[in-house]
């Protein structure tokens, strides 16, 4: 009865990577000198579950490495070693190595064994040093892999070598097997710790006819003799925690305080004393031998077969042990994994429903009669429910931005170390939720901005001291909701942008004329030009001038905006404004002739009616009007899109002042404004193709299609037209 374990590989990898992330987070939170016990436990659990999982799946290299790691973590946990900076570095490196190993195994590529063994050597060296220095006469650390050997290593330090007698009452709940636990395995492990006597308590065993083969009816009174710490025993039962009653008690009053509870009087009807080495078989046979009216071969399955049974019961066996560990930290988050495609499908269907509902509402409002009133009531109810449904479905796709932020503590730490700067990272608003697709694409731009802040922004400690600033600089990452959008800010208290240098550089490169006068905003915009860098020398971190333009492009692709503010000498701030989701856009509908277009609200600055006197013609090239001290070109939408408008006279229609890339503004001339609404973005490219100046389409309440304008694209198309 073997199970094909490969089917569980994906789950193992996915969970292991997640667990490593949480381990990394915990490591970074770990205070040197006074570590938080819970954090160490978290770290330990990760190492432990990865070890367990990789041993199960036969990834012996990973198991062996994590074993060494676990040995050290166990020392930390038991207080045998103190957390030092060197150690936390070593542990962080271990996280990297484990990640690399897992990735290599996942992709079926060879593991970089040199790197692994080097680090493993370092780990063991650190353990060995500890052992030789303070506690002179301790047992050498066992380097052999395997789950059982780890335990003695944990014990040796604080306690002298005494043979102790532990009495363990282990009473699993009936559903133990369903959680993927196997008492047999636990007892084998216990037997590895010392001399084990096991007495099965079969009092709860029902009549054979009532026997449920998936349930556990047995309890055990175990006596373990040997030099074993309580923690080592608890560790064996770790995965079964919460699925059983467990009492562990020191029988002969050893040096360690015994647990307060006492052993219940054994009510066992049958007592089978087995030798430590032979635990396996007798346990399996016991129910058969002692159960009333039992047939020898039949009841055996409850213990042996259930946990390994194929079919529906099988998956929990392989997956549960790791799951249990990961979940232990979050305490039953009650979440399930769902593929993104399924959610997208759901989103689409809900989008359809919204449109259908809007159509029905329009129809309903035209009906007359007594039933029509009732119908309208029902439709109003439907609309409310639809809106709630849509929001709920949308929320399913949302993840806290913490998913992205969590990578920064490590990065900032490493970078600051490499550059010899003191940098403190402040994270706020980590719980702000964002659409998953947006989240995936915001990571790289943020990394770039944070790098820039540390490399160019924050000065070296002496420079900071000279400027009268605290030696340690601060990089602040913040996320918050702001008027239907998400604002992500990266700010630092470093040197800020040197406007004069940017200008000089731009003049050097001929980007601006020698006598051009630029506003602050325009100066900062220069930074976003491809190939622009004011760094005096390029480092391997940044300064090559590729970057800010890519950052801006990425943000633009997400339908967002990026803005720079800086105070020379005091620091700078980058503000990224992003839509909550890519599937929906807040839009203003405008009409031109018989057509309706949607202008994304994020692009709109203002809408106004022009007077003929405000408009001037520019040497036959086009029309401009004055807006807040600037002259903006008027773009007649009907001309660009070739539709017949209701009016071509400027003061009869309206002008929407819209903003494209880098504060480039135009006055878009339309017939009329219709209303603001959230629209679901539909692809025009799926069945047709890309259209210049159009970013997509949407379906209006009456079922007709409206095109969504792409203002930056329109501006580009316009300037190409002007050039032609």
């Amino acid at each position: 009865m073997t199970i094909d374990l490969t089917q569980f590989h994906d789950a193992f990898f996915e969970e292991s990577f997640e667990a490593l992330d949480s381990m990394e987070t915990a490591l970074l939170k770990l205070d040197i000198g006074a570590p938080d016990k819970e954090l160490i436990n978290t770290i330990f659990r990760v190492a432990h579950s990865i070890k367990g999982g990789s041993a199960t799946f036969g990834f012996s290299d990973i198991a062996s490495f994590t074993h060494s790691l676990e040995t050290m973590l166990d020392e930390l946990r038991s207080g045998g070693m103190q957390v030092t900076l060197a150690m936390s570095d070593l542990l962080l490196k271990s996280v990297d190595v484990m990640r690399a190993m897992l990735r290599a195994v996942q992709q079926k590529q060879p593991i970089n064994s040199q790197r692994v063994s080097d680090l493993q050597f370092d780990l063991e060296l650190m353990i060995a040093q500890k052992n030789s220095a303070p506690a002179a006469a301790s047992v050498p650390p066992p380097a052999a892999p395997g789950p059982v050997a780890a335990a003695p290593a944990a014990v040796q330090a604080p306690v002298a070598m005494v043979s102790r007698r532990w009495e363990i009452l282990f009473r699993p709940y009936p559903e133990l097997f369903a959680r993927g636990n196997d008492p047999l395995r636990m007892m084998r492990e216990l037997a590895g710790l010392g001399e084990l006597e096991s007495n099965a308590d079969v009092s709860a065993l029902p009549a054979f006819a009532d026997l449920e083969p998936q349930s556990c009816y047995l309890a055990w009174n175990l006596v373990l003799t040997g030099d074993v710490a309580e923690s080592a025993i608890r560790q064996v039962f770790e995965w079964a925690e919460g699925d059983c009653d467990l009492q562990i008690e020191l029988a002969d009053g050893g040096p360690q305080a015994a647990s307060p509870a006492t052993i219940e009087d054994s009510t066992s009807e049958a007592v089978a004393v087995t030798s430590a080495s032979a635990v396996g078989s007798p346990i399996a046979e016991e129910p058969a031998a002692t159960a009333p009216a039992a047939v020898a071969s039949v009841p055996a399955p409850p213990v042996v077969a259930a946990p390994v049974a194929p079919g529906p019961a099988a998956p929990p066996v392989a997956v549960a042990p790791q799951k249990a560990d990961a979940v232990a930290t979050v305490a039953d988050s009650g979440s399930i994994r769902v593929s993104v495609e399924k959610i997208d499908e759901l989103m689409n269907t809900v989008g359809e429903l919204v449109i259908t509902q809007a159509m029905l509402s329009q129809l309903g409002s035209k009906l007359e009669g007594p039933t029509a009133e009732k119908l309208r009531g029902g439709l109003a109810q439907l609309e409310r429910n639809m809106r709630e449904l849509q929001e709920s479905v949308m929320r399913v796709r949302m993840l806290p931005i913490n998913v992205v932020f969590s990578r920064f503590p490590r990065m900032v730490r490493d970078l600051a170390q490499r550059l010899g700067k003191h940098v403190e990272l402040k994270l706020t608003g980590e719980q702000t939720e964002l659409d998953k697709t947006v989240l995936e694409k915001i990571g790289d731009p943020l990394v770039h901005l944070v790098r820039n802040s540390i490399d160019h922004g924050i000065e070296s400690p002496d420079k900071r001291a000279a400027a009268g600033k605290p030696a340690s600089g601060t990089v602040h990452l913040d996320a918050c909701h702001r008027g239907g959008n998400i604002a992500v800010e990266v700010s630092d208290d470093g040197g800020g942008l040197d406007k004069d240098r940017i200008l000089a550089k731009a003049r050097d490169r001929g980007l601006i004329g020698p006598n051009d006068v630029l506003t602050d905003e325009q100066v900062y915009d220069l930074i976003f030009l491809p190939g622009f860098s004011t760094a005096e020398k390029t480092t391997d971190v940044s300064g090559r001038g590729v970057g800010m333009d890519v950052v801006r492009r990425n943000i633009k692709e997400l339908g967002g905006k990026i803005e720079l503010r800086s105070d020379y000498g005091k620091g700078s701030k980058t503000i990224i404004t992003l839509p909550l989701t890519l599937a929906i856009v807040d839009g203003q509908s405008v009409s031109v002739g018989s057509e309706t277009y949607i202008v994304p609200l994020i692009s709109i600055v203002e809408s106004m009616q022009l007077k003929a006197a405000d408009v001037s013609r520019l040497s036959g090239r086009g029309e401009v009007f004055s807006f807040r001290g600037f002259y903006l070109p008027i773009v007649r939408l009907y001309e660009i899109f070739g539709v017949e408008p209701h009016t071509k006279v400027l003061d009869e229609g309206l002008v929407v002042v819209a903003e494209g890339e880098g504060h480039q503004r135009i006055g878009l001339f339309v017939d009329d404004l219709l209303g603001q609404q959230q629209v679901v973005i539909k692809s025009l490219e799926a069945n047709y193709g890309h259209v210049e100046g159009v970013s997509g389409a949407t379906i209006l309440g009456d079922g007709s299609v409206a095109l969504i304008l792409d203002i930056p694209g329109l501006i580009r198309a316009m300037s190409m037209r002007a050039a032609a």
Binding site: F641, G642, A686, N687, G689, V691
Partner: protein, 174 residues
């Protein structure tokens, strides 16, 4: 017409046949593979697309996806007809290298679904310019009429997939 002429919904024994949806444009009858037909619907106003070629009338909402609508009369350079309530849009799917695309064709009316015996399909003669009849898979007689079997992948696939630069192509070709 010989005795084994394709009869509606009847199959010649042991011969390969497939079903074709026939429709009329003016005096001509055309046919498309029924498996490619997604839906037949009445005419409704379309949303115009800027810079589209003249035979692409615009786009429509087909149960949530945005589908371009092509006027086959214009595609075939026939006289324009008025769009009325009896004008029909056949929604078909085109399979090309870029994947499946749906689009609608405006026709005068849908006639029938007929079984076409593959053996009876005749190649279309070359008419005028080379490649002008590329989109015709063949001609087949059905109940005393000639049905033009269309290869919609060629007819529209070449048109819509290379859309963004089709304007240049036509310009250079002209």
């Amino acid at each position: 017409m010989s005795s084994n002429a394709p009869v509606k919904n009847g199959k010649g024994p042991g011969e390969e046949s497939h079903q074709v949806l026939t429709f009329v444009l003016g005096n001509e009858t055309y046919g498309v593979d029924i498996l490619r037909v997604q839906e037949i619907r009445g005419w409704s106003a379309v949303t115009k697309i800027p810079h589209a070629p003249p035979h692409v009338l615009g786009v429509l909402n087909l149960r949530g996806s945005i589908v371009p609508i092509v006027d086959l009369r214009m595609r075939f350079s026939l006289d324009r007809a008025e769009y009325t309530t009896v004008t029909v849009i056949i929604v078909v799917s085109v399979i090309s290298a870029a994947g499946r695309r749906d689009f609608g064709v405006v026709v005068d009316g849908v006639s029938d679904v007929v079984d076409v015996n593959t053996a009876e399909v005749k190649a279309a003669p070359e008419l005028g310019a080379k490649g002008a009849t590329d989109y015709i898979r063949g001609l087949v007689p059905v109940s005393e009429r000639m049905v033009v079997l269309l290869d919609i992948d060629r007819l529209i696939g070449s048109d819509l997939t290379s859309f963004s630069n089709s304007a240049d192509e036509t310009a250079s070709a002209a």
